[in-house]
């Protein structure tokens, strides 16, 4: 569905400066059909730049970007649902007009348009406010409206940039449930978020970016297993940690029959932070 091969992207320098800013450097990854990929990284890592390249909003400096097997083009957006990081609409539209615009541009049959709009507005809790102007929506409501716009035309690929932004805890739960449902329906999902708990729950594969470079691509379990510790668990089922090998050796001699070793996996956040730290060290 999405293929990045050794992609570089440089932003031109500001007036008076000589250097270009390398936003992405040799970035390679792919998203297969039916897969969900979580793209995580610190601020300025290059996540939004990757998304803009996929959507055709900008052109890459080197390498190749392919979406649905060809270069990004506006005609592909018929099968893409995009939720931008910053929800920005013409503020004087009504919610229902926004969705009708979205449906009209995707050449949806007229019979399906109203049914789809009603379904998604109801599902996202906006049916009662469909005739309200978007400038009177709260941040969370605008985020939901943006989500509805991304889903109204039943796309195959979803690109969600910070989908939980601005939502209250109940709203977040609902969106997480919705994304899980979309995964089960076989949609391909590219998901950017700073909330690692959500990424861990919702994706098959994780891509970690830092300063425009790929630090890791693989499953969450691979990331967490890659640096696992061994823990000694005693008869009292307490985990013991030792400050030196000598202390460990003495304990094991004294309790040889009553201990077992357990492989301890890092939690996702720790694994992410360690991966980023290692990439900086390199």
């Amino acid at each position: 569905m999405i293929q990045f091969n050794d992609v570089d992207k440089e932003y031109p320098s500001e007036l008076g400066e000589n250097n270009v800013f390398p936003a992405l450097s040799q970035v390679s990854f792919q998203l297969e059909e039916g897969q969900s990929l979580g793209m995580i990284g610190s601020n300025g890592a290059g996540k939004s730049t990757c998304i803009r390249l996929m959507m055709g909003f900008m052109k890459h400096s080197a390498g190749s970007v392919a979406v649905f097997g060809s270069s990004p083009h506006s005609s592909q957006h018929r099968n893409i649902g995009y939720l931008p990081e910053v929800t920005a609409f013409p503020q004087n539209l009504k919610c229902i007009e926004l969705l009708r615009f979205a449906a009209k541009t995707c050449a949806m049959p007229k019979k399906e348009v109203e049914a789809s709009i009603e379904y998604w507005l109801t599902r996202l809790g906006l049916w009662d406010v469909r005739f309200r102007l978007l400038r009177n929506f709260s941040k969370g409501m605008q985020q939901r409206a943006s989500f509805a716009m991304a889903l109204v035309h039943d796309p195959k690929l979803l690109i969600l940039d910070e989908p939980m932004s601005g939502l209250d805890p109940v709203g977040r739960m609902e969106i997480v449930a919705l994304i899980q449902e979309l995964r089960e329906k076989g949609k391909s999902i590219l998901f950017c978020s700073h909330v690692l708990d959500d990424v861990e729950k919702l994706v098959d594969q994780v891509l970690i970016l830092h300063q425009g470079k790929v630090c890791f691509q693989g499953s969450v379990s691979e990331l967490c297993q890659s640096q696992a510790d061994w823990l000694v668990v005693g008869q009292d089922l307490q985990q013991h940690r030792f400050s030196s090998r000598e202390e460990l050796s003495v304990y094991m001699q004294e309790n040889a029959d009553n201990i077992k070793l357990v492989k301890h996996h890092e939690d996702f956040e720790s694994a992410f932070l360690r991966t980023v730290k290692e990439s900086v060290a390199i």
């Binding site: 959507m55 957006h77 007009e97």
Partner: protein
């Protein structure tokens, strides 16, 4: 093709509704109506040629309202949509950059048309009323056809300026820069015919075949002479001296200029990074 037209009309509708509800139009119409009404009340201050003065004043109000709409609402709509990233919302649909440019142009031109038409109707009624209040010697003739032609000319001029605004938005980043360039463009267009005439009269060494003369002629192609679409004088003349061929050619050339500028704007938008 059908899908392309559908996308263009969707963007045009979006732009139109957003502008209509921004109440910019309403504010401009109210302001222009107040100015037009003031023209009616103060016509007695004109010593002579009241008909011509009133007609010039009313059409100038329409022209000014259109310029205010273009420089403030149109520039904001196009340039700020990029600054605020709302352009991503539109281009995340299967809409090409060219369709976006054309749709936005049509939406804004529709708003301009409503502005011109509503002010034009009020101006027409005002002139009719003024005519009834005056003796024939002060206001003998009122050519309704040429009045409508003047409004068309104004509309086409302003559509050309709108196309230039779209071109500048494709070239530049920042609404303020676009605004300054658009205003500068308008002033240059207004000034070049005057400069050209002055140069011809005052500098005897400038003749056809001279490089400086060609330079001015070349500039006149880039910065068109809007006065060719100004038919104000014909409204009140008994036998207007307009030549049909010149009038038609002025409209055709302006339409051609509009198409060329919009094509360049579409090309620039399709090439730039957002």
């Amino acid at each position: 093709m059908k899908q392309a037209i559908q996308c263009i009309s969707a963007v045009a509708q979006l732009t139109f509704l957003d502008g209509l509800r921004k109440q910019t139009l309403l504010g401009l119409i109210v302001l222009a109506l107040l100015l037009e009404c003031s023209g009616i009340f103060f016509m007695d201050f004109f010593g002579h040629d009241i008909g011509r003065a009133s007609s010039d004043f009313l059409l100038s109000v329409i022209w000014l309202a259109g310029l205010v709409f273009l420089f403030f609402h149109a520039v904001q709509t196009i340039a700020l949509s990029e600054e605020r990233k709302s352009i991503y919302m539109i281009l995340s649909r299967p809409i090409s950059r060219s369709q976006y440019v054309l749709g936005t142009f049509i939406g804004l031109a529709s708003l301009l048309l409503i502005l011109q038409a509503s002010l034009g109707v009020v101006a027409w009624f005002s002139l009719l009323w003024i005519k009834t209040q005056l003796d024939v010697q002060y206001f003998a003739v009122f050519n309704h056809g040429y009045f409508v032609l003047s409004l068309f000319g104004l509309m086409l001029m302003q559509c050309c300026v709108l196309a230039i605004i779209m071109l500048f938005c494709g070239m530049l980043r920042g609404s303020f820069l676009v605004l300054m360039m658009s205003i500068a463009y308008y002033f240059i267009c207004s000034s070049i015919p005057v400069v050209l005439e002055a140069v011809k009269q005052q500098i005897s060494s400038v003749q056809e075949g001279d490089n400086f003369y060609y330079l001015l002629q070349g500039l006149a192609l880039i910065f068109p002479d809007f006065s060719r679409l100004d038919f104000k004088d014909a409204i009140l003349e008994m036998n207007p001296s307009l030549v049909a061929v010149d009038t038609v050619s002025a409209f055709v050339l302006s339409a051609l200029y509009l198409v060329i500028v919009l094509t360049c704007a579409c090309y620039l938008y399709s090439r730039r990074d957002l």
